[in-house]
Symmetry: C2
Subunit: 413 residues, 2 copies
């Protein structure tokens, strides 16, 4: 495909059925924000929602708001709102803790429902906290559990009869390579293993279909494409068929069948609620709910199509207009194999990203040599892609970045 | 002691060096809030702090705020501010996750630094989530760890050579009975065990002195006396001498020595930071910091004295003015053995508490027969004690409560 013009892109915006959603966000002037895959932008509704929770619900309602303002049900309520975005039933998703903590719960849970199997299988180069949590589980069980991390290409063949759980990030945080969820799940099931999907880089951008894929368990992040704010609580999915068997190892009081009976013995709540642990983070939940509410009328198939189209145009334009500077695509070219971000490799990636950020194009650097650009389809326009590439071309032509020093990392995925 | 008059109490308020702190809180009109031990009141500064984080830091700063607005350091910064309230050094406390999750981390950590010991010892009737989390650890280790829960009176003798950790709540959530932290810790150390203290019902009300007591590990709640808001993040204390040995079983990326190197292998951060797991909850941390900042100039010894004096006056007045109705003290009478709340038992406790709440005196019911009243010393006045007891007397005299139905529990500890 030949590279589009700015006019071509403006026409795509004019025809975009999702274009009006951009108005639901408060985006700072002078910024093209290509980092919504790291921290989503602020929805306009959020400030008032959070202020209401602080001033009216907490300040005036005090302890009574656990009931009168629906705090106690918030983890299930917001989970049910996330469910349609990821192909889950409302009673299969709950909001709690962090992605890391939820991964611990579900993988430890998977081990107990696959007794006799001792291997957790994952991909080498998976998102670090996923690897670290799995290493923590391996250390905790002192020899009774083995973590096997293999190269992506070797993963299908590595699902053997000792594997209890295949733990993968649906869309890779660096390359954006997308695992075929249905095919891997079928393969895992054929060998008696469960699948645990980390949806951090796909929920809210792609038309994830957990139940369509037959997935068993999943976790995901609230502060990326769901726009829940910095450190937003995360979500956990447990397919209905596993809910009765999967007891959380973090068996806190909010997962108890009767939390306010204050009995001495833990009895797991029925259903997804047993995946709760401590008292829910109400401020974080309120902000996350405001973010998730923006998806209420969004057709996820159309959203995914836009996300991938933004990425396609970006790839075409970078190659056509910045190819001279040695930018090398480090993501799958084929949209169907990609998530909602695009990575390019360059020997001076860090310095180039610093120069881009200084000019208002905010992406990420990922060591050792990647520039990562996220295309949050709820609020980005096609012309933003053009303008970002224009600024990238200016940076590369001016060679300003060659004077940048290699400093501390400045972003959080 | 004979019961004081309202004038006696007004004189105590006039002489109270902490009285001005009440103005730092936004308390609703018509309410006497005796439930700050369940959910602390709203500090006046909090709404603006949280709004700044949402609108300026997140909305405008976006991903850059992890560095430019100090988000990444917030767990350590707020931990260091909590430290002086609990007798810890600034580098011994971090804010993260929930109390339940932190308890899991520290107890599992304690087991690894006491190899060869398989018993976790706790008190029967301890706060439910503490018991449930310990039961979860026992289940997780499938026979390699044994949870022993004994009556409080039997606990000292039960610390034997197999005990790895003695896990106790410093101030009991129902009775307010206070464990002698120094004596129990000396006993535990003499038998080779560590102590893990849950400070949820003491931090921010009593002059807790972890290092003075020689304590090893502790956790505590951000939403009670620290006034951090509903579901505020919790804190964890690890004495400096244990920090290098105590690796968290929840080894998420924020506890890694170099989180932004994105390496595949977990390497625990030095010091307290390794107790972090996932991405910090920035909205919750901002609200908690506003609450904790109110303690900056507070003499904790004076604060504890006020807390206990409020409780003493309440006990005297209830017994003198409401004794006719069969209210029975269910907390230690001696202030030194008590925390900052007071429980009374009554056969119709639930109905009486509902009637009190309907008249603006907000306390808690705890099954089966307790009325629990918390005396948050930062914002309660001595005359509030008088007025609350006056309303209680009216309720008891009118016997209105006898018409109340026993409904759903309405409070969260």
């Amino acid at each position: 495909m030949s590279a589009p013009t700015r006019e071509d892109l403006a026409r795509l915006d004019a025809a975009d059925p999702l274009a009006a959603l951009r108005d639901a966000f408060d985006l700072p002037a002078g910024v093209i924000y290509l980092d919504g895959n790291s921290l989503g932008a602020l929805p306009r509704a959020t400030a008032a929602r959070v202020a209401d929770v602080v001033t009216r619900q907490w300040g005036e309602g005090l302890i009574r708001s656990w009931n009168t303002n629906g705090w106690i049900e918030a983890p299930m309520r917001v989970g049910a709102k996330i469910a349609p975005l990821i192909g889950a039933a409302p009673h299969e998703v709950v909001v709690a803790d962090s992605t890391s903590v939820n991964l611990f719960k579900l993988v430890a849970g998977a081990l107990t429902v696959r007794p006799g199997r001792a291997t957790i299988l994952t991909e080498r180069g998976n998102f670090p906290t996923d690897l670290y949590m799995l290493q923590g589980i391996e250390a905790l069980f002192r020899g009774a559990v083995r973590l096997k991390a293999v190269a992506a290409d070797d993963l299908p063949a590595a699902i053997d009869a000792d594997v209890a759980a295949v733990v993968l990030t649906h869309v890779h945080y660096k390359s954006a390579r997308r695992w075929p969820m249905g095919a891997i799940t079928r393969l895992a099931h054929g060998r008696g293993a469960l699948t645990v999907w980390d949806l951090s880089h796909s929920a809210g951008a792609l038309a994830v279909d957990l139940n369509g894929a037959g997935a068993d368990l999943a976790v995901g992040c609230g502060y990326k494409y769901l726009n829940g704010g910095p450190g937003a609580p995360a979500f956990a999915f447990v397919a209905e068929r596993h809910q009765a068997a999967l007891r959380s190892p973090l068996s806190g009081w909010m997962g108890h069948a009767e939390p306010f009976a204050f009995s001495d013995a833990y009895v797991a709540a029925p259903g997804i609620r047993r995946q709760l642990c401590g008292t829910p983070a109400i401020l974080g939940l309120a902000a996350l709910e405001a973010g998730v509410d923006l998806f209420a009328k969004v057709d996820m198939t159309a959203l995914e199509a836009k996300a991938l189209a933004l990425g396609d145009r970006f790839i075409d334009l970078v190659e056509a207009r910045c190819g001279f500077a040695g930018m090398r695509l480090a993501s799958p070219r084929e949209a169907a194999a990609r998530g909602s971000h695009v990575a390019f490799a360059h020997r001076q990636a860090y310095a180039i990203m610093q120069a881009l950020i200084a000019r208002g194009v905010i992406g990420d650097f990922r060591a050792p040599d990647l520039l990562r650009f996220g295309f949050a389809p709820l609020y980005l326009r096609f012309v933003d892609v053009w303008d970002a590439v224009t600024i990238m071309r200016e940076v590369l032509e001016s060679r300003d970045y060659e004077h940048e020093r290699f400093g501390a990392f400045s972003a959080v995925t």
